[in-house]
Amino acid sequence: MNPVSRSPIQSQNHYIPGDLGVLAVHALFWIGVGRRRIAAFGATRGQGEKRAQAVLEQFGNFLVHGLVTGSMYAAVALGLTLTYGILGILNFAHGEMLMVGAYIAFVLTSRLGVNFLVAAVISMLAVGLLGWVIERTTFRFARHEHLNGLVISLGLVAILQNIALAIWGADPLSIPPPLPRTLEVWGIRIGEQRLLAFGLTVGLIILFSLFLKRTRLGKGIRATAQNAHVAATLGIRTERVVAVTFSLAAALAGLVGALIATIYTITPFMGGLPAMKGFVVMILGGLGSVGGSILAGFLVGVVESFGGGMISSIFKDGFGFVALILILIFRPWGLFGQRPEREDV
């Protein structure tokens, strides 16, 4: 083979026609599927105004439920993007932080009779502490070696899942929701518990972004993420900042875990899917962009809710992936990420 076949330099970031072909195939496929589903959907309803109202209500339901799920995705992705920014590691064990938080909340509420909100705060603190310990004992030794860090996180996944399995077994558990009623406004039905989870998650996301923007420590975190060496020269104790950030990300996951536990069931393997979604959201939003992660979280939640409701419920998890692939074709650095000048990610 001849290694010196030359080509114009500018070809690097131009998309070859193959991309467009792939795009066209995807688009045609989904338009075809979608049209049939929407037609079938309309046919089951009455005629005229009643039908329009039903469609609107259905849309409202999809939107609201998408936003609720999206808030969870956003919180998970926020933790992941902070970990990636500071440690340069795709932390696959982030989902297991969620799982630990859920189990702690379960033990506190169901076995010890603690009030749910108190239990949620305690599991947040406990998982934050766990995050601290994990960072100090493992990830500290593999900073910015993303593949080594990834394998370490896989080791943690195996350990945490099997410890949970040993303690609580594989049977799904659940926390009885503290607010079991269902609200109905303008035909949109939603459980109060979901609204509570949504409110708490959004509140926490806002608090967290303010913390990153306004406080001294938050600024230290952002500086360390941008350039740890420069930050250290300027007197930031980067070593501590890294540990604090990891612990904060874990705490966030712990709280989300406690909230998820009231909506879905708790199993030792419950963390896998949210972590995967979190990665997709983080990349879609753009690495290092906190706002991007939050917006992308809501976007993926809504896209999945509409796709799952209108096109195919078994394919629900696929819509987020399709959105990601399509957006990365046009914006290889995510929606709000920094366009790289030099690529040494």
Partner: protein, 329 residues
Amino acid sequence: MARRSWQALPLVGLLAAGVLYPRLLPGDYFLHLGIVVSLYIILTSSLNLIMGITGQFAIAHAAFYGVGAYGSILLVTRLGVPYWWAWAAGILLAGIAALIIGASTLHLKGAYLAICTFAFSELFRLLLDNWISLTNGANGIIIRFVPPPIGIPGLFRFDLGSRRSYYYLMFTFALVTVWFVRRLARSDLGRVLGAIRQDETLALTAGFDTRRYKLLAFTVGSMYAGLAGATYAPYLSYIAPDLFDVNETIYIMMIMMIGGIRSIWGPVWGSILLVSLPQALDITPLLRMIAYGLVLILVMIRMPDGLAGFLDRLVSRLRPGGTWFGEKA
């Protein structure tokens, strides 16, 4: 060029070990372990070409492994194509899939590439799960045929009804993969791929069409994964979407890292250790998995270059400059 004749020594060593293995450790159980180790040597070496040598953080390897397996098996069961033709077609299909996915993702860097290829891999699994009329969905396909014998008349013959023959076949492919990756890594082409890993912009300014080289490495590596799938599926006699999901890719990656990324021999060490370790730890499954996790973490912290790097350091103490075990690409 007296040194040059020594270069083949590790390959000869691997060949000797592979041939002697069934004699030293007889029995179906050890043959099965040998087949699984060979399978992972193929998968890991080819991922090493993509991720280690070319530096493309693509996590869809198990999907191509699945394309090879499903492609060849479906051709046999649905269209009645003779197995060895279907086998070749499965590899080709994996290559075509890699060309399409590679062309639409390889402009991405680092974590972006990782998650985008992951998305493709999950879409493939969802397709297998939901195209029930073709793939029988999550229940998978039971394979009821035995591949016809293959070989060169008068020289050798793999009669695939026996486990021993299957072992020799898989081992041959493993040896070929290691040989190929080693040969490629040392060629001019391999040097270009290494340059892309170290500084893509620089490789580009030196006049290399980096997109084409990345696509080439990705496609060739994925075709080896397809080969692994097409060859292993009839032995396994059962395929299901779960066998080819992202967890499998992560497992392959794990073997590569524990063995030693970028090392030619790392995949061999890693496959031997990670396949036999869970068997060797004779404790309850729960404790076994916890111990497994601890081993992963400890190896990554204490030996960042994996087993190959560690062995290399041992060797260089005895014989300065010696790199038989680690042999970096």
